[in-house]
């Protein structure tokens, strides 16, 4: 069949090169036109399946409160009053920006301050009472002549209330002793900005940050309080009266995408340059290289045009399509050129060379392209659109690139031949052997030893491969010391918050109460740190009366103490105690509007219910813990109703689970798909198994070496697995094809092995460029790809041929061949 197809295609190309050429040019022109309309959509929520509860809830939350997540402007200064004055000025200006929905940086705290003892846990108040008595005894023991003690008191046993005060200085994640959002040390002030746009809309956030930069510059030029603001993330900036920094969900998303973008540009240039230089060194013909690279660029443009027609946009993962396709596509060009030159050197005829190349190398490349595409198309089963689109576009791109390499390159030679007839002589291979040719000359006289050694190495690395772990920590994917991340961690530490909260909406107050009672008290070992609801603002049932009783007991004791025995620091507190006892029981209806509004949808929202916020104990960077958090609070069932949590934490948890689940499914289905295709192509299990060797052994070597060198699989490099699958199977297919054709291991390795080595090394160089990236996620992708491709290459050129030789020797001995 391959003869028939190859002959037919070569006939069309050789007879109608101009028609074919013009057709391809028209297609290319149309692609260029469509590519210009292509946009990049950074909205990650759009990539998630819409039917996920976390997505539905988050989209609803966007309507209720104007979005999930915040933009944080953190101010730092050693003068807290000046910092507060700056925040007052800045808030006024920020609120005038049309992109800003609200700015929160202080709150009225009177309601809490007046009622603090009734909002704290009764057992804590009991503890306070017990300490008051202890304090009285310690004073008395100094004055009472009849007192005695059984032991000497240690200094740290001196009675103080600092820990209790500290515990309740922050209530409902806010300071109650200062209306401004300052940290307990009064060194930082947080301004929480709610922008109008989506946190996943990177373009919006980029513009937003620029506008805030302009606003701050203008403020620096003209303000009444002699403030000088400078951006800084490592302590206070010299010369600044206030140091500021940006963080929060909006900024972190922007930094993430910009870091990847910034990392890709130099690495792409690096990869392209190295590949080009390598090809110059080994192919030696600049014109051939330009033809291959030109065809490659054309196929990338074609696939981007196809993307615009089929999907309409790129996303954060498909933006790296060009790099992946160039890596794959160059292989087809190299395989074509190597075989084409070989055939022309032998026959001297362009038409015959094209025919033979298409029949043999073309068939192998087609099998390789279909197998790799099939493996990538498996990704389309994923619910995560980024994966499914990536699989669809990359799979289709590989097929398109393979097709173009084996059509455009022959057509180019045919057309050039019409104008420059001597050009085809550049295809003639001189006697001088290249390094790759020399490598291909290795005879497999030590095949047995190589096989034994490989098997030992295989099992050795298999052990390490089974030890590899998944790195759930998202920080390991980021640039080291990214400012927004550093600042976020500083805020988390200062304000003792671990992450953005998840939000749950309920239609009625009764449902909000039922939800609050269901979630609290928080069980031990829970991933929940606190539940903040409208019901946190009032005492629990019976708590007001119980706490008031204790306050009365404290008052009674304090009244007994002669005034001269009361230390000055406690006199104000006694006055406060008297004020507390004047407070009447209070409920929801007594809560001021500015507090209630935090738990209600924004004006203009379609809903009129209540919001409950759940703060996690876990870090937003810990993917495994996020999954546990999402499992715990993702859906709460009460009386037959389900309440779904919204927020970046639950979205990332769903994303993490999806990636892991799809990653496992992909490996299994891809392996089955590849095996089926290989069986169809080669018709024999033994042959198909040999073709799979570089893939299987290469993968084990890759994972084993990663574990030895301390690398882990993570959310980013997991997408490299299908790429490595593709290379592994491609090498095997090309070599097996040549072996079947020539019936000689040495010839297969000598001839096709050179092309396999060249294509693998160029690809290796492309991925190795990622190793210099600042972005750790990209670096990990580079490491995984390099180990995998290098492993597959060594297996292809050394182990597989040795195994074939050993099998062949055995079959010859048994008289089977």
């Amino acid at each position: 069949m391959k003869h028939k197809i190859g002959s037919t295609v070569s006939l069309i190309l050789t007879r109608f090169p101009i028609v074919v050429g013009i057709t391809l040019l028209i297609i290319l022109s149309l692609s260029i036109w469509r590519v210009q309309k292509l946009e990049i959509n950074y909205d990650q929520i759009e990539l998630m399946p819409g039917e996920l509860n976390s997505i539905k809830a988050s989209k609803e939350m966007i309507d209720l409160v104007g979005g999930v997540g915040f933009f944080l402007l953190a101010l730092k200064s050693d003068d807290v009053d000046h910092m507060k004055a700056v925040s007052d000025e800045l808030a006024g200006r920020l609120e005038k920006m049309p992109e800003v929905r609200s700015v929160t940086y202080k709150q009225k705290i009177d309601f809490f301050k007046e009622r603090v003892p009734f909002l704290i846990k009764t057992e804590d108040l009991e503890e306070g009472y017990s300490r008051v008595r202890k304090k009285i005894r310690s004073i008395l023991n100094k004055k009472n002549p009849f007192s005695f003690s059984l032991r000497k008191k240690k200094k740290e046993e001196e009675v103080n209330f600092d820990d209790l005060i500290e515990k309740y200085k922050t209530m409902n994640k806010r300071q109650v002793d200062d209306p401004y959002y300052v940290d307990p040390k009064k060194e930082m002030l947080m301004m929480v900005i709610k922008p109008m746009g989506d946190p996943t809309d990177i373009d919006f956030t980029r513009d937003f940050v620029k506008k805030i930069d302009v606003l701050i510059n203008n403020f620096n030029e003209k303000n009444q309080i002699k403030a000088v603001l400078k951006e800084g993330y490592n302590g206070l900036v010299p010369g600044a009266t206030v140091t500021y920094g940006y963080t929060g969900g909006y900024k972190r998303n922007l930094d993430d995408s910009e870091t990847i973008r910034a990392a890709l540009v130099p690495t792409s240039i690096f990869a392209f340059t190295f590949i080009f230089l390598y090809l110059v060194f080994f192919l030696r013909r600049l014109t051939h290289i330009i033809m291959i690279m030109g065809t490659l660029v054309g196929s990338v443009v074609l696939i981007y045009g196809f993307c615009e027609i089929s999907i309409g946009e790129l996303d954060t993962i498909t933006t790296i399509l060009a790099a992946i396709l160039m890596g794959f596509g160059i292989d087809f060009g190299i395989h074509f050129m190597y075989r084409f030159r070989e055939e022309f050197t032998r026959t001297g005829s362009l038409n015959q060379s094209i025919r033979e190349t298409l029949i043999h190398s073309g068939a192998a490349s087609a099998a390789s392209a279909f197998t790799t595409a099939a493996a990538l198309y498996i990704l389309m089963i994923s619910d995560f659109k980024a994966f499914s689109r990536f699989g669809f576009l990359t799979g289709t791109g590989i097929l398109i690139t393979a097709f173009l390499m084996y059509t455009v390159l022959p057509v180019m030679f045919l057309l050039i031949d019409k104008i420059f007839p001597n050009f085809k002589n550049s295809l003639i291979i001189k006697d001088k052997k290249t390094l790759i040719d020399r490598l291909g000359s290795i005879e497999f006289t030590h095949a047995n030893k190589i096989v034994i050694g490989s098997v030992v190495l295989f099992f050795g690395l298999l052990y390490f491969a089974t030890q590899i772990s998944f790195d759930y920590d998202a920080r390991s994917l980021m640039t080291a010391d990214r400012p927004s991340v550093v600042l976020q961690e500083e805020i988390n530490k200062r304000y003792t918050i671990s992450s953005d909260p998840a939000g749950v909406y309920t239609d009625t107050l009764e449902e909000a109460k039922a939800l609050y009672e269901k979630l609290t008290p928080i069980p031990k070992n829970s991933t929940m740190d606190s539940v903040i609801s409208i019901f946190t603002m009032i005492p629990a049932n019976g708590q007001f009366e119980a706490n008031r009783e204790i306050l009365l007991k404290i008052k009674e004791r304090v009244d007994m103490i002669p005034p001269d025995l009361i230390e000055d620091e406690y006199k104000d507190k006694i006055k406060m105690l008297e004020d507390f006892l004047k407070i009447k029981p209070f409920g929801i209806k007594d809560i001021p509007e500015h507090i209630i509004s935090q738990f209600r949808p924004v004006p203009g929202s379609k809903k009129d219910g209540y919001l409950t916020f759940i703060y996690p104990t876990i870090s937003i960077w810990d993917g495994e813990a996020l999954i546990r958090f999402a499992k715990e609070i993702g859906t709460t069932k009460i009386d037959g109703n389900e309440y779904h949590a919204a927020g970046m934490a639950v979205i990332f948890a769903d994303l993490a689970e999806m990636v892991l689940r799809d990653g496992r499914r992909f490996i299994i289905f891809a392996a089955i798909a590849i095996l089926i295709i290989l069986l169809v192509v080669f018709r024999k299990i033994r042959v198909a198994s040999f073709a799979l060797l570089p893939l299987i052994m290469g993968m084990i070597w890759m994972v084993g070496l990663m574990d030895i060198s301390g690398w882990h699989i993570n959310f980013m490099n997991i997408v490299v697995f299908p790429v490595v699958f593709g290379y592994g199977v491609s090498s095997g297919i090309h070599l097996i094809h040549r072996y079947i054709e020539s019936d000689s291991v040495s010839i297969a390795v000598h001839r096709t092995g050179s092309a396999v080595a060249a294509s693998s090394i160029t690809t290796l160089m492309g991925w190795a460029a990622l190793l210099v990236s600042q972005h750790r996620g990209l670096e990990s992708m580079g490491i995984l790809a390099c180990f995998g491709i290098a492993g597959a290459l060594i297996v292809s050129l050394v182990v597989m041929p040795s195994m074939i030789q050993v099998t062949r020797n055995y079959r010859e001995k048994k008289g089977l061949i």
Binding site: S130, R133, K134, I136, R137, S138, L140, N141, K143, N144, P145, F146, S147, F148, S149, L150, R151, K153, E157, E556, R557, M560, I561
Partner: protein, 193 residues
């Protein structure tokens, strides 16, 4: 009918009279005990003062529910130790305070079963300043005798406070043996005086 009501009245009065007689007797005893404590301490008659104190009751108060778990020898040692500490520390300190004693006002004793209270106001003149110290004595009736088991000031008992501030901590550190060890050390130090 008249006879019946007369009999009932007599019975009623008879029931009341012994109680009130007893009550009157207990009150007087309580007052007497407290007065003896004050006078004895003032005049350094510590043996006499010591006989007015219920050391066993003090031991029970200091150790609370742990008292039942203690061995007889430990109990005996605790009782003796408290006596020593009172004689060596409390009484001499009390004597010092009473140097400037002006007067003592005694409140009416309050009795509930075998526990009695007597609030006193000690008026002291020192450096031309009048000081009033309110001391509430708590007494136990044991074998028909009222003895002092604790002294309260500003609602806090001396002996009761020892459980909260010392015994609780020592029990946590090392149980009853830790309490006994601390007692021995404190007594040894007091004996050095």
């Amino acid at each position: 009918m008249k006879k019946l009501s007369l009999i009932l009245t007599i019975l009623f009065i008879c029931n009341g009279v012994p109680v009130s007689l007893f009550a009157a007797g207990d009150s007087a005893q309580i007052l007497k005990t407290v007065k003896i404590v004050f006078k004895a301490v003032q005049k350094k008659k510590y043996d006499l003062a010591s006989r007015q104190l219920d050391y066993e009751g003090m031991g029970e108060t200091v150790m609370r529910h742990h008292w039942k778990k203690m061995s007889q020898s430990d109990k005996a040692e605790m009782i003796k130790g408290i006596e020593v500490l009172n004689r060596k520390n409390s009484f001499p300190n009390g004597t010092d305070m009473f140097k400037h004693l002006s007067t003592i006002l005694y409140g009416k004793p309050r009795i509930k079963k075998n526990t009695g209270w007597c609030k006193t106001t000690v008026v002291v003149y020192q450096n031309y300043k009048k000081k009033e110290i309110v001391i509430d004595f708590k007494l136990n009736k044991r074998k028909d005798k009222w003895r002092v088991v604790d002294i309260y000031m500003i609602g806090e008992g001396v002996i009761d406070g020892i459980y909260e501030d010392d015994v609780k901590v020592l029990i946590k550190e090392g149980g009853i043996p830790a309490v006994m060890k601390a007692l021995r050390e404190t007594v040894a130090e007091a004996n050095k005086k």
